[in-house]
Structures are given as structure tokens and as C-alpha cells.
Amino acid sequence: MSVYFNETHNQARETARQFVTRHILPHINDWEEAGEFPRSLYLQAGEAGLLGIGFPEALGGMGEGDIFLKVVVSEELMRSTSGGLVASLGSLDIGLPPVAKWAKPHIKESIVPAVLRGEKISALAITEPGGGSDVANLRTRAVRDGDHYVVNGSKTFITSGHRADHYTVAVRTGGEGHAGISLLLIDRDTPGFTRGKNLKKMGWWASDTAELFFDNCRVPADRLIGAENAGFIAIMSNFLQERLMLAIMAYTTAEIALEASLEYARNREAFGRTIDRFQVTRHKLVDMATQVDIAKEYTYRCAALMQAGKNPIKQVAMAKNFSVEVCEMVTREAVQIFGGMGYMRESVVERLYRDAKILSIGGGTTEIMKELIAKQMKL
């Protein structure tokens, strides 16, 4: 029960729940083990309208300005129990907004609707082998040559990197530091652009993650997103929603682990009683529930601030850090409550425990979030 959701949100939640129940849950264990899910899922999600939230109607989206619509759908997609699937299915949420906002009109019209229909996949490429936290010092270079940019360098750990069609890539077009960065939209088949293999990971198995290589890659100059050397601001403004999403992923992961733990503790017997009859287990479950609730409500609060047109950089960074801490604690304790079964791949908490870790790294690490918060606190 929450005060933030209206009837439309409830209906959208039901749609997303049906989508997950019908199209994902029957297959998710196989997809996790296989390390990917079928591309057709993007089309099905597109058809249900799940991909277009937050994008303008003129570009085939559901319209802007309803953050809680995004919240309910994200929560329900996470109910697939696979953060990896959600990350890849949702890579457009980080790759596409700059295109929809700042690309040349003919570029956005040719790309955004197709991605929102699920026909094409969009990815965001910022992190480089040399560093991810220090965005201002990225080294992939783009040099203007007539009506093209010639790009050299590489990116790594890119979600949907293996099979995306359109990459929103941060490149250096100017001098040192943040004032020399631009965003370029680079298509999969651009000459000089190749991808490494699908990287093997601790968690997020159903997600494809790859390294990208640019070797004298010639990108038409009209694929510049926004103004030249104004990319850093665009990247930073994109982070706000990504971090909100990561907070949602974190508390929902924790919530699923909590629910599984409650169910397990009510039924598992030891020493002649169900384990929830031990006060130590009961209190553990209470702590888990308390933390999840607070993480969730605080994240809703941030969403409400965004909904009200504010720019809650500090609060969203706090929400991400807090939810991620909660997620790590709750998934760890969930595995503990499950005992040996918690270590088995057949129990959902095993996956949730592995999937928790990425959330303190992606979208800006916990330490970078703290630096950001410190700056907002004028420390």
C-alpha cells in the first residue's frame, strides 16, 4: 500500500506482472544458465508498451513525466528474479534518453521508435578498460574529418554490448577533462567497430555484457548527440534516472529474497519446530523487512521529488547507496536462512545474492555516490 500510485499505475503493474508471469518466469532459469534470453522478448515487451515509458509520444513512447509508471513497471520486471534480464531488456533506458532528447530530428525519428517497439536494441557506452568512475578522463577519441568523426579507443563492461544495434558512446572530441567530451550514436555495422565476446560474470547471467573496439571507425557527423563537447552534462543528467532504477532493482531484489525467506522459515523444521519459532530467525526477518520497507519508501520519496520537477541528485545517490546496502544484507541473510539450500542454484536466493553485488558498482560506485553526496553537502 502506498500513497504514490493511482489507478493507471495499478493497471500498468498488472500488465507488467502478466508479461513476467507469461513470458519470462517459465523460462528464466534456462535463460540464466544459457547466459542470454531470446531477442523476441524485446518485441513482446515493446508490444505491451513496457519499453516506451518516459519517452515522448511523438517518438512512439508512452509520454514523459510519469515517474511512478516507470517505478511500478520496473518493480514488476524485477519480479522475474533476474536482474540481468532486466538490465539488458532495459539498456535502452540509459542508451536512448540522450538520443530522444538531443539527437538531430531525422536521427531520433529513425531510431527511437524502432527501439521502443523492441525491434532494435540500444546501449550506453561510457566505461573504458582504463577507468569507469573518472568519466571526465575518458580516452576514446573522436577526431572530425570532413563530415565524419574518426573514432579510436575501446569501452568495456557494456550492458547489451554484445547484441545492441545502436550505441550511445562517450568520446573525447576536445581537450582534457569534462569539457572535451561528446556523445556519438554509433551503429552496429559501422566500419571499424567490433565487439568482444559476451563476458562471463559473477551475476546478471542473462545479461549480455561486452567490450567494444573502435579502430578508425568512421561515424557520420550528424550522429553527434547534442552539441560538441557538451556530452558530460548529458551523461550526468542521464545518471539520475539510472540511479533511481538501480535503487528500485536493489530493494526489489531484497524484497523477493525476504519473501522467499519468510516462506522458507515458516516451513523448514529444525530441532522439532519451524525455524521461524527461533527468536533469532524472527528478529532477523523483522530487520530484513524493516530495512526493505525504508529503502523502498525513501526511493519513492526520491521519485516523488523527480515527479515534482526537482533534481534530487543527493537524495537519489543516497537512495541508491542505502538500497544497495539493504540488498546486500538481505540477500546474504536470506541465503543464511535457507542454509545449504541457499547455496544451491535451484533456490532463487542464490541468484539474488550473486546479483546483488553489481548494484554497488554499476551506475556509479558506492564511493562515487558518497563523493557526490559530500559535494552536495558542501563538504
Partner: protein
């Protein structure tokens, strides 16, 4: 052809219901509500008839408190064209529901009325039949197939021991069984479009129907908890137990 579909707001089928401590009913506080699954099948069938060009307009009607507009909106998002909400906070039993629906049928004059065969809250399995009787229409209950053929509708019914097909003159009442179709879910764009579809509100008084209850519930109890089963070694032992212990064969 106009099709009228009745939908009911009930406890979501996923919810494990709890009986109130005073045994007066089922606890509805903070419980997730949803459209009765048989009603979803009814809406789906109507939408399919429209997609086939058989139905031209789908009107969806629900009886109950303000909140059941949510279920009407859901039906609109699934493809119904217009909604009617008969608003009342009173408990409405099968016969009163049938009378209210009859009043709507008189006004709307649909060629086909589709209802769920029962609602999963009280499982009465009565309203469709009562409506057919009150409206003087033929009825095809427990439908697993509905084929409109000119002035007739052929309804395949799931009955004990097999299937039975009845040919009804239109207008007629059909109630849905589980295997009639697999309902779709609403896409987000259709949810948004449904917000602009018309939804009229009326009341039992407007329709001239007295909804006072005629049946009183004495007591509601949870079913007895089932005892754990046992494992038998082989078929011989199973047959022996069925014969001599359970005495069912």
C-alpha cells in the same frame, strides 16, 4: 451487434483469503482485488467477436462500490468501448445482480450478454441463469466455444460427461467456462486510451431495483485443513486401501 459484458470485482485469485475472527465473512481489508477470472474470459470473448467483425460495440457493466470502476477501466483497456457502473456499497446477491443487469439489458438492448459462469468469491453460479430467465432470453452456460451465426449463436457447453452444443436465437445469454479462451492482458497504450472512453454511473435506485438482501449468511468457516497424505508401496496396496480403508471402490 452490441454485446454486453458483466464484470465483477473480487479478491485476486492469488490471495490466500482469511476468514474474519468473528466468522462473519472473509477479511477484505488491504487485500488485493481484481477482475473475476471468468469475467476476464467474458471480456476476451467479446473483444474477439469484435475483432472478427461480429460485434460492433462492447458495453461493460459492473455493480458495486466506486472502486469497481477499476475493473471497468481494465475491461475498457482490453477492448470494450464503453462502461456502465451501477454504484452501490450494499452487498448485492445473485438475484439482485440479475435484476440490475436486466434493467441494463432493457435499456441497452444488446444482442448478446456474456457473463462469467460464476465469480470466485461466492461461487454461486446463478446470475447468468437468473438474468436469462428474467429477460426471457435463451441461455448457453459454461461455454467453451461461442459461434455467432446470423440470428443465432451456437454455444458449446462443458457439461458432465462431455460437450453439448446448443443453438440459441439472439438475443441470448452466454456464461463462460475456463477453456473458452486465454484472456490477453492490456498493453500500456491501451490502458492510456481507456482513460478517455466513456463510463456512465447509475444506481440501483435509478434503475428501480431494490437490492435488499434476501439471504443471510449465518457463519463463514475456513475449510478443515487437509491431513498429510501417505505413500503406498505399489498398486496392490493402493487398491487395497481404496477398497478397505477409504471404501471408495
Amino acid at each position: 451487434m452490441k454485446v454486453l459484458v458483466a464484470v465483477k470485482r473480487v479478491i485476486d485469485y492469488n490471495v490466500k483469503v482469511r476468514v474474519k475472527p468473528d466468522n462473519s465473512g472473509v477479511d477484505l481489508a488491504n487485500v488485493k482485488m481484481a477482475m473475476n477470472p471468468f469475467c476476464e474470459i467474458a471480456v476476451e470473448e467479446a473483444v474477439r467477436l469484435k475483432e472478427k467483425g461480429v460485434a460492433t460495440e462492447i458495453v461493460v457493466v459492473s455493480i458495486g462500490p466506486k472502486a469497481c470502476q477499476e475493473q471497468i477501466r481494465t475491461a475498457l483497456a482490453l477492448g470494450a468501448d464503453r462502461g456502465i457502473h451501477i454504484e452501490t456499497d450494499a452487498e448485492v446477491q445473485s438475484l439482485e445482480a440479475a435484476k440490475l443487469l436486466k434493467a441494463v439489458v432493457d435499456k441497452e438492448e444488446p444482442k448478446l450478454v456474456i457473463l462469467g459462469k460464476q465469480s470466485i468469491d461466492t461461487d454461486n453460479n446463478q446470475t447468468g441463469q437468473m438474468l436469462a430467465a428474467l429477460a426471457g432470453m435463451g441461455q448457453g452456460t459454461f461455454a467453451s466455444e461461442v459461434v455467432v451465426d446470423g440470428d443465432k449463436v451456437n454455444v458449446t457447453r462443458e457439461v458432465d460427461g462431455g460437450l453439448m452444443t446448443v443453438a440459441l436465437n439472439l438475443p441470448a445469454v452466454v456464461t463462460t467456462d475456463l477453456r473458452l479462451n486465454e484472456p490477453r492482458y492490456a498493453s500500456l497504450p491501451n490502458i492510456m486510451k481507456a482513460k478517455k472512453k466513456p463510463l456512465d454511473t447509475t444506481t440501483p435506485a435509478d434503475l428501480g431495483v431494490d437490492v435488499a438482501v434476501r439471504l443471510t449468511t449465518l457463519k463463514v468457516e475456513a475449510p478443515a485443513t487437509r491431513q498429510a497424505g501417505i505413500k503406498v508401496a505399489d498398486v496392490a496396496e493402493l487398491v487395497d486401501k481404496l477398497k478397505n480403508e477409504a471404501k471408495v471402490i
